[in-house]
Symmetry: C2
Subunit: 250 residues, 2 copies
DNA sequence: TCTAGGTGGCGAACGCCGTTCGTGTCAAGA
DNA sequence: TCTTGACACGAACGGCGTTCGCCACCTAGA
């Protein structure tokens, strides 16, 4: 890989080249590379997509870019900064509609469905959410703004809008992270049934039915994993609650 | 601290004792300590209470117990196991009532309020929740069983009970973790206003009002932090949604 | 009482992590 | 051409969870 430069390895008259003495070794034989923050985020997201969140270390990203981890710090202030950027990059795929008071509930659901879909499409990306407290990327901000606008168009009081957007995002983040754990387990090549649902299955099956009749009696329902059903159920709960706070429309 | 044992340091005739040669140094001068899993969990919880979750490392726990981190592994299989135990220890404080169909909503709320209170009482304990996928401690299991029993007593279908307990626990976990981040920031001795709410304040204040009129117009509501208000709001949403699924009672 | 096996305590070290420091390179501007 | 600031990058720091190998201790059985 490393090719000695000419000044560091003067031409030998003939025969085998003598090894370059240590004090004459070039620090860097290959031209230094040039990076951008975008390239770093792209590499990080690619690693998450192909290897999962646990593989996304500064070293692994640097390796992907053909350099060392220190090079990343010229562009991101640290791991946390990088996570903000990665999440925000993913969420640029979320498009929000202008508010329509007649169908505000469906609009909220649509936005949150899209958020979840984006998170899920990147494997276990959602597992990064708890590592940052308060997402501050542009995409997240735009999405929050849109949700607030929709809630406000429904006539909800300001405080209800504010608390509502918080509850909604907590729920979506939570379920996305839950699903991310499940997705990771499945992708890691574990035996079929070793997914989180499989573990819950076995856990519940091992419970003493006399002591835990509800859990054991609802094992199938508790571990049911059919499409978006679980997500939609929770969304319905929240939206029903919010609708109860909105003015009645004729 | 280390006191040479008598066999390793034979009595000198007089004067200053000669240093013990390396090959005669006792491996352990003090009697070996005896630990229990309970003591380890107690030490871990004490560290969380006094220094926060970030300080709870295997090394720090071992230090608290006067030993090295390797000693912990005879009693816990690893950090994840320890976290399960710590969370479960904390949640032993949760007491659940027998179901009363006439006041099932208040019962659910009471249980979840208690869960949250327990989590909050241990500083930023809730930040540990995302590190484990599916809590399997006894306390958690007992609590889930009780919530299911209450929901079932309200006449909710099995699937609604199952999805409902999931949504409720996701919400409580989410908001507890959110509050834990806030609590940690405040406890870390940062300047007043450096709490998460303070950061959100400044973040929202820095947004361009023409582009983000909803966020900037609701800054006060979004950052409002008054007792249990925010938590109760989300709980009300979920319970309203669940009540809509329950049979109507005379 | 003695012996053997199992359990557990513990030091040293491993491999990995995020990050910093110091040095060298490069490009733009004077 | 020279200077300066930004950036690339190797080496190393300090920290983490964990394992390995050794030794001590305890208990059960002969």
């Amino acid at each position: 890989m490393a090719q000695p430069s000419e000044q560091a390895a003067p031409a030998e008259p003939s025969g085998q080249a003598a090894p370059v003495p240590p004090w004459e070794r070039p620090r860097r034989a290959a031209p230094r590379r040039v990076f951008t923050r975008e390239a770093i985020v792209t590499a990080a997201l690619h690693i998450i997509d192909t290897e999962g969140v646990d593989a996304m270390t500064m070293r692994r990203i640097a390796q992907e870019l053909g350099t060392g981890p220190a090079s990343l710090y010229a562009h991101v202030s640290g791991r946390e900064d990088l996570i903000h950027l990665v999440l925000d990059r993913a969420l640029t795929e979320v498009r929000c509609p202008p508010p329509d008071p007649q169908r505000w509930q469906e609009q909220i659901k649509d936005v949150l469905r899209l958020v979840r879909r984006v998170l899920v499409s990147h494997g276990d990306l959602a597992r990064l959410l708890p590592e940052i407290g308060f997402p501050t990327g542009e995409s997240v901000t735009v999405t929050s703004e849109a949700i607030l606008a929709i809630l406000a168009s429904a006539g909800l009081p300001k405080q209800a809008c504010a608390y509502g957007v918080d509850a909604l995002s907590l729920y979506v983040s939570g379920i996305a992270a839950e699903e991310a754990v499940r997705a990771r387990s499945a992708d890691a090549g574990r035996p079929a049934g070793e997914a989180l649902a499989g573990r819950a299955d076995r856990y519940i099956a091992a419970l003493p039915p006399d002591r835990f009749p509800m859990l054991t009696g609802m094992a199938a329902e508790l571990t049911r994993d059919v499409g978006d059903e679980r997500f939609e159920f929770g969304l319905d709960l929240l939206l029903t609650g919010l609708a109860a706070l909105a003015p009645v429309r004729a």
